[in-house]
């Protein structure tokens, strides 16, 4: 029995695994802090979610702001002007891209420098690139992401935790000089990304349509082999990261980035958003229906209710007697129908039918390496749309529809954060928040077991993972971090009480 506190997951996530004959046979995911955000929103002003919910997570604050604003737009039945739609999208996309780069190179790749791998031929090179604080790539990522974030700062006045999206649009239109700066920052980042991360222009990367194409691309030239993607793929394969971390093979996206009517950006046929909503179960695609979302608490430290509850009827009542056998987690267990579902860039890539990831999923299934690859190359799809929207942003056009007040009622805002599906469900009564429930991407991925005892996605993905050195179980880190958990982002994250350590859930020794 290993009990592993994992750092570098932005907040504390503790994973317990049972190891038999050198590999994981069971796993429990436990986050460790409960801050009570949903309940403290109740009774506050109808617009207060715009200020308070971004502060749920310092990494996903633009995403929370977007979800909060979209819910209020829906409540007021407000049509947001094209300028504001594009502005909101641009801020969210910039947040995604910097998050993907920081997560990959500061957090995920740091594990590749572990002394466990010191005998591997590529280890010294991994240390040179990714050693915390000192690696060459670490230094570049800090510099380049800081510059890219100026786009979000230009809209929000700060990052994280801006409140510049309001029902009806944005609080200001960027000026010509703002837009000029945004274009420069994006161009600079894209040039760095092509040079350092891909080792080729994005068009060359987009020509990769299958696993075989990926191999051919790797062999094509030195720049591609040596770029960060090429290096991660090569070292990752050497370490077997393409063979661990499969999980349930259920994927979920809430969809994001609405495309304004007259934009030159075109979403896939039949979809109104650049990132489509949808569900994949194994290889079957299902249409996404919001009513199918629910949260279970059978294994979570909340007052029990049977089965799952839709978040519009959900409740967050902490139940901390400290003597639960079944409960091991402050996180609820979100389910789609009865399915646990993985969410994030790999889910988006599969649901967007990107040929490379459809092929990898179909022929090899999900893995740590595929999941991480989907994250770091997500920017490839976002750059061109951002460039077009920067051209279409009009400094003289309206950015906010006049709104008298938000009416009473109930609504939801569903979007994709950097880490995947994010939803806010809100009820307003007499101008005050009466009900607020949030389901974060990390709640989906780091979910505990549900009422039927089915493991959450990370728990399931850990099964079968080899653990070579129990004092540095770096393999577990690879699996968990490939989901990019941001546990403080889980509003009702869990703790592992001392009693749970004595009496672990599920009859673990």
């Amino acid at each position: 029995m290993l009990n592993v506190p994992l750092n570098r997951v932005e907040g504390d996530l503790e994973v317990r695994v049972e190891v038999d004959a050198g590999s994981v046979v069971d796993a429990w995911c436990t986050g460790t802090s409960f801050r009570g955000f949903e309940n403290l929103l109740v009774g506050r002003g109808s617009l207060d979610g715009l200020v308070l919910t971004p502060r749920i997570c310092g990494l996903c604050s633009t995403a929370h702001l977007t979800a909060a604003a979209v819910a209020l737009d829906a409540l007021g039945n407000i049509e947001v002007p094209a300028n504001a739609v594009m502005g909101r999208n641009l801020a969210l996309m910039a947040e995604h891209i910097q998050s993907d780069a920081r997560q990959t190179f500061l957090m995920f790749a740091a594990d590749l420098t572990s002394a466990v791998y010191r005998d591997r031929p590529l280890h010294a090179e991994a240390v040179r690139r990714y050693e915390p604080f000192r690696g060459t790539v670490v230094a570049e990522v800090l510099r380049e992401t800081r510059k890219l974030l100026d786009i979000v700062v230009g809209f929000g006045g700060q990052w994280p935790h801006g409140s510049y999206m309001v029902p009806g649009g944005l609080t200001h239109v960027p000026s010509r000089s703002d837009i000029h700066m945004f274009r420069q920052r994006l161009g600079r980042f894209r040039a760095w990304f092509e040079r350092r991360v891909l080792g080729c222009p994005i068009e060359r990367w987009q020509a990769i349509r299958s696993a075989a194409d990926l191999d051919a691309w790797l062999d094509e030239n030195e720049a591609q082999r040596d770029g960060e993607v090429g290096f991660l793929v090569r070292f990752g394969r050497e370490l077997g990261l393409d063979r661990i971390g499969a999980g349930h093979a259920n994927f979920l996206s809430f969809g994001a980035l609405p495309v304004p009517g007259r934009s030159r950006v075109h979403p896939r046929a039949g979809v109104d958003r650049f990132i489509p909503a949808g569900v994949v179960k194994g290889t079957a695609s299902l249409p996404f229906r919001q009513e199918q979302v629910s949260e279970h608490v059978a294994h979570s430290w909340f007052h029990d209710y049977p089965g799952g509850r839709h978040p519009m009827d959900g409740e967050t009542r902490p139940y901390a007697t400290g003597e639960e056998g079944e409960k091991y987690s402050w996180a609820k267990a979100p389910r789609y129908g009865d399915l646990p579902a993985e969410t994030g860039p790999l889910a988006e890539a599969i649901l967007s039918r990107q040929p490379l990831f459809v092929d990898l999923h179909r022929t090899r299934g999900a893995s740590v390496l595929t999941r991480q690859l989907a994250r770091i190359v997500r920017a490839v799809e976002l750059f061109p749309a951002m460039e077009t929207w920067l051209d279409e942003l009009d400094p003289d056009a309206e950015s906010c529809r006049a709104v008298e007040d938000v009416p009473d009622g109930e609504a939801f805002g569903l979007i994709e954060a950097a880490r995947g599906a994010l939803g806010h469900w809100v009820k307003i009564a007499s101008g005050r928040i009466q009900h607020y429930q949030v389901i974060t991407p990390t709640a989906w991925n780091a979910s505990p077991r549900d009422a039927a005892g089915v493991r959450g996605p990370i728990e399931e993905a850990l099964i079968g993972t080899p653990v070579r050195d129990p004092t540095d179980p770096v393999e577990l880190g690879h699996v968990v971090r490939s989901f990019d958990p941001c546990l403080v982002c889980t509003v009702h994250v869990l703790r592992r009480g001392r009693t749970v350590a004595r009496r672990p859930a599920g009859g673990v020794p």
Partner: protein, 326 residues
Amino acid sequence: MATGRIQNPSTAEDRAPNLFWLQCGACSGDSMSLLGVDDPDLGELVRDVGLEILWHPSVSRTTPGAFQEMVDLLVSGRKPLDVLIIEGAIIRGPGGTGMFDTFAGSPKKDLAVALARKAQFVVAVGTCAGFGGIPASGETEATGLQFHGRTRGGVLGNKFTARSGLPVINLPGCPAGPEIVGGALAALLRGEALPLNEHQMPLEWYGVLVHQGCTRNEYHEFRVEDQRFGQPGCLFYHLGCQGPMTYGSCNKLLWSGRTSRTRVGVPCVGCKDPDFPKPHPFFRTRNIEGGPVDLPVGVDRAHFLAYKTMAEAVAPERLKERKHPV
């Protein structure tokens, strides 16, 4: 910065300074500010200044055993700790146990207190660590290190001082900006004095009101007030701007050297105030007898209202027509 050296009083050993960053009931927003620190940035601080980052939850890598060993050394005093930075509220619930926020099964609040007792400097980065912030308005019994809102005390108590003799240094803000985090670190590593206000916030960054430097000030001056978002006028009378009541250099030291919340049309929400978040709704000014309930720091109500009525009467058309963008 290259001169950053901390004298260890117990051994008189001259060595590179170290830093331990602890997240309690946090969102990582202030950690994102640390990653945004520029000139020198985080990597340069480590490589060029020789700052030893013992631990940061986002970017450090260590094994569980080595982490515990290091904490034991620091808490027992066998390894000196120079700078302890705490991010996030100190969670005391449920029922004072602290078990809403744990590390390896033990309350984080106990770890925070144990490390604070050994540190040369204790810095509360962000409003939550200093004063309790948003979590303190909820059910988790959250509080700040040495304050609970404006009330002295917190988890360390009013009398606490770090080994340097200084109380907790509060750097509120949600988040505290990168220039404040970087500037405070630089000052501490150089051994510079940081004069503090009554809430232990350095005057360097909290000596002026958010209102100072606001580009909407001409509108404010003539009481040209906006009632909806997206306009260039003043946000004080109707949209709940707390800039004239909140200490912070947001409009003096701009974010990324360029901008601030009020410059992008967002009324100040008072995130650097010890009482953030105030209990009444954001973005709505509470009014009484034709004037805001909360007035700029130190002004007299009757005279303020009289002055504002006169100012409105002489407001130029160019402002009333909102011809000047902000």
